[in-house]
């Protein structure tokens, strides 16, 4: 009997995410939709803490650490979210998004540290989850800094070429690690460093006014990173939650661009073009 409660909670969690998103997209039901999703999330979290067990039937341990983390996060998160001024909300969203990305990144790091010689499928999931989480984390922090004026828009000469080199480096390093050609922790942390650098350079040249669009895009990145976590743990609620945000976030990004009468390409590449023209 007990072993159906966890999958059932996950199922309910997934449904509340879908219903919540649906309600969030209508003015009258939006606020309730947010609460519905929050309730489903709470259920899924507590069901995981108390009922999760691995294939050998071992339940989770380290409860003091888990609850300590939950309490600290809840207090800090509530305070930050309550105190923030109305005008500063987008940068708060960006910061929270970065936290989610960092969380996905840390999960991958720990999993790799536990099992550096996992099979190829697992390594692919771990590495991709880490790359996307890290890009999202680094990008969100830059976006946050830009919105509150700490970081100025900066034209980087040859940004496109640098980004291309970083992409190539990511692919080469990831292939080296996954095929086992050179599977050392150095390569793994190299991937992390390159991904972080890419995240920074990705957001750096984009104009401050376009920041909400970029945050929305990074938001969907974090969703995908969360979904890789779902693959890692065979966890349906992480998978549905993550992918839903990934796809809904991507569509939302496009809708936001449309509302500003611009194309996504324009927002992302446009600033590079301007730099070239002015420089």
């Amino acid at each position: 009997m007990e072993n159906i409660i966890l999958p059932l909670s996950y199922l309910i969690g997934s449904i509340t995410f879908i219903v919540g998103l649906k309600m969030l997209s209508h003015p009258d039901s939006a606020r309730k939709g947010n609460l519905v999703a929050a309730a489903g999330m709470t259920l899924a979290i507590f069901a995981t803490i108390f009922l999760y067990h691995d294939e050998q039937g071992n339940t989770l341990g380290n409860y003091p650490w888990i609850f300590g983390g939950l309490v600290i996060g809840t207090v800090l998160g509530t305070l930050a979210a309550k105190k923030v001024q109305m005008t500063a909300m987008p940068e708060m969203v960006s910061l929270f998004n970065g936290m989610g990305g960092a969380c996905a990144m840390l999960i991958s790091v720990i999993e790799y540290h536990h099992n550096p010689s996992a099979d190829k499928g697992m390594l692919i999931v771990i590495v991709l989850g880490m790359i996307i989480g890290t890009v999202s984390f680094a990008g969100s922090i830059i976006a946050w800094g830009k919105l509150n004026g700490k970081i100025k828009d900066k034209a980087i000469p040859g940004a496109q070429i640098i980004n291309f080199i970083l992409w190539a480096a990511l692919v080469v390093l990831a292939v080296m690690l996954i095929t086992g050609f050179c599977a050392t922790p150095v390569v793994f942390y190299g991937i992390l460093a390159v991904a972080a650098l890419y995240g920074v350079l990705f957001v750096m040249p984009i104009g401050g006014a376009d920041m909400p669009v970029v945050i929305s895009l990074l938001n969907s990145f974090t969703g995908v990173a969360a979904a890789f976590g779902g693959f890692l743990y065979n966890n349906p609620v992480m998978l549905t939650g993550g992918i839903l945000v990934g796809s809904a976030g991507t569509i939302l990004t496009m809708l936001m661009c449309k509302a500003m009468n611009r194309s996504l390409k324009n927002v992302l590449i446009g600033s590079f073009g301007n730099n070239a023209a002015s420089g």
Binding site: N97, A104, G246
Partner: protein
């Protein structure tokens, strides 16, 4: 190649893959016609939902051997960050929407 083989022969993986495909289309459909005033709250709400990554942090934390201090420290950090994402995300969204409904009443 055996990775691809596993993907289709292992029922669990195949099931996850099916969920992915269906969720992608669902995500697109679900917010297909959102009015532009709700763009930011919806982004913020979605931001809170991807905080579901916290479940991964809880699992990794709960499975860490109690003498593996690297995993414990990083896991602890991950749980805090994930909780910040979830709680902060939902509270900020609620505040945005509260402001929204007040405006409407006036």
């Amino acid at each position: 190649m055996d990775f691809l083989q596993n993907l289709f022969s292992d029922p669990a993986t195949y099931r996850l893959l099916t969920i992915v495909i269906l969720s992608i289309f669902l995500g697109i459909e679900v917010i297909g016609r959102v009015p532009s005033v709700l763009h930011t709250p919806l982004m913020s709400g979605a931001n809170a939902i991807h905080g579901v990554v916290i479940i991964g942090a809880i699992i990794v934390m709960g499975q860490a051997p109690s003498d593996d201090y690297l995993a414990l420290t990083l896991g602890f950090l991950a749980v805090i960050l994930g909780t910040l994402n979830v709680v902060g995300g939902f509270v900020v969204t609620d505040r945005m929407l509260e402001m929204f409904s007040k405006k409407k009443k006036k």
